[in-house]
């Protein structure tokens, strides 16, 4: 079976004043059916932009958006980058790809009940459902994320942050899409609620393909089948979670892991020197070289290619070539 989603050479640049921000700069990845792929990276690595780019939710000041995003559904193939706006709206958005936004706090219409809000979106893609059946479907979805049906009659200001996050997850799943993009689904929640949402996400594994965008390596290791590490608009390493976490091949991945606290080992926490590079003027060559302890001459001038380092495990580093 072909992968459900294939991203090839995706670029998203947008203008900021006179500068161009290269938020996503040539990203390629594949997502299999039922698979969970975590995209991890620091703030400003372009991982959220990647999520928006896959949904084709572009900022108003976009200056470049190209590459290919192929979505396979049975025999049908959609190229999200180039397809017609109306077809995208009708055939892809929410029906085949949905998204749980980072700011779920404000992602719900403030002057609608949850029921009306969900039904308004369902009706757009399922005109066959009348209000009664639409609300019944909404009730079903709400129950599946562990919320009481009475939530449907409530307004977002009457819900807690965790409840809103669950509502958004229910909404993202209600049309049974092929792919759900989850942008930092737990970052705004307290620890207990985080745990709840994480176990909810775990229970959904397998039914739907997920792209989990997070800075939280622990979350990624818990849920993801594969992990992609993003740095300055590019993917620097991608592979099965175990492989990436236990034997990282890119120095950045290694540094990222060493800066993550763990309960199992007693070791000093290190931090990565320097700062996330500017997406406006990224360093030449390998973008990580100014912060890399292993940097060589070639790293400063030439961009390293992706090389296979294990089964399904690839990384972009000159160290792996020599």
């Amino acid at each position: 079976m072909p992968p459900v989603l294939v991203v090839e050479g995706l670029r998203l640049y947008y203008g900021m004043g006179k500068d161009v921000v290269k938020a996503v700069d040539g990203v390629s990845l594949e997502l299999d059916r039922g698979e969970v792929l975590a995209v991890v990276g620091e703030s400003g690595s372009g991982k959220s932009s990647l999520g928006y780019a896959i949904m084709r939710l572009l900022p108003e000041n976009v200056v470049l958006y190209d590459g290919r995003i192929l979505l396979h559904d049975g025999g049908a193939e959609f190229d999200i980058v180039s397809m017609d706006e109306e077809a995208l709206r009708r055939d892809v958005r929410w029906k085949r790809i949905s998204m749980v936004f980072q700011a779920s706090m404000n992602a719900i219409d403030p002057v609608s009940t949850i029921g009306d809000f969900i039904y308004r979106i369902v009706r757009e893609h399922r005109p066959d459902l009348d209000k009664r059946r639409g609300l019944a479907a909404a009730a079903e979805a709400i129950k599946s994320v562990g919320l009481p049906v009475s939530v449907l009659d409530m307004y977002p200001f009457e819900l807690s942050g965790g409840m809103k996050q669950r509502v958004m997850i229910a909404l993202a799943l209600i049309l049974r899409p092929l792919v759900v993009i989850l942008d930092e689904p737990t970052s705004a929640l307290d620890v207990i609620t985080q745990a709840n949402v994480i176990s909810l996400l775990k229970s959904l594994r397998g039914d739907v393909s997920m792209i989990l965008i997070t800075h939280d390596l622990a979350l990624a290791s818990e849920i993801a089948d594969r992990i992609a590490v993003m740095y300055a608009g590019k993917i620097v390493e991608i592979g099965p979670s175990d492989a990436v976490l236990t034997s990282p091949r890119h120095p950045y991945t290694g540094a990222l892991l060493e800066s993550t606290p763990t309960l199992r080992q007693d070791r000093a926490l290190s931090s990565i020197p320097g700062r996330v590079p500017s997406l406006i003027r990224p360093p030449p060559g390998c973008r990580f070289h100014p912060r890399c302890g292993h940097a060589m001459d070639i790293c400063r001038s030439e961009e390293p290619p992706m090389v296979d380092v294990g089964p399904g495990h690839r990384a972009a580093c000159w160290l792996l070539r020599t």
């Binding site: 029906k95 403030p110 308004r120």
Partner: protein, 343 residues
Amino acid sequence: MLALEDMSPLRYILLRLALALPTMLILLTVVFLILRVIPGNPIEAMVGQKAPPEYIQQLMEQTGLNKPLYVQYLDYIRGVFTGDLGRSFIDNRPVIADIMDRFPATVELAVFSFLVSIAIGHALAFLAAYFRRGVDEAVRLYAIIAYILFIPFFGLALQLIFGVYLRWLPIGGRITPGLEPPHITGLYVVDAAISGDWPALVSALKHLALPSITLGIVISGVFTRFIRNNMVKTLEEDFITTYRAAGLPRWRVLMRAYRAALVPTITMMGLQLALLLQGAVLTETTFSWPGLGTLLLERIQYLDYPTVQGVVIFYVLIVVFINIAVDLVNLAVDPRLRRGVWQ
């Protein structure tokens, strides 16, 4: 403070009315004093300076103008609170009767101007928010121009074009004399429609056209800008991204943005309605529209104290009622108010 979410609507209305009392008292006092400061004697203004002094003295006693100022003031306040606005110096009719004669004309003008401005404001704001860029720039320019238009001048221009050159529309008055519909509500359009008097209805609408378009356009500047700004601001919010991601058509996303910004929009429209009454004074005089505004202006010239004071109180009452109505409509529109909880 006075917050609607803490109490029942009825209690809220009563409290709002009670709180309006000091405002009215202050306004009454100010108007009372200003009228007395204006040079001239109302009795002389009424009967002329050549009238015999005994006659003038007699009239002064009749109207109570011979009493000390503070007695006049207290008498007047007492009258107002017992529902007696006094009698006009000019026609000796109860002031309230003069007001009621003129009020329907003002209501008719205000309502039609309001409709014109709401229609223009919404249409342009939606166009601006939908297309943005050039359309948006043009709409914003329109809003500013409309806002700074001077009613007598703009009205005169419309009178010249549509009344004098093109001869499409009458330039003054409420209706062609002789066509007045039977008195039911006092609103010619409504009365003519109820009694099926088509010539009267057509004539009334034609007479309404120029004044209500003049005033409507001027008020529409604020509407347009306000609704446009609110929508553009709301369109940047996260729930709009949800709707876009969910595949709602652009115009439906726009409707949701409008809906979310409805409470401030209604509040603003209510405030504009009060402003409309003020603009109506200028419009009425420009188009010889026999409403409260022209009444006020006529009677100020004659120093008809009771009528001028009465009209001012009446305006204040209208504004108070509009504000209460706005709050009640918002109560129906905003779930956060309705549920009595703020986040």
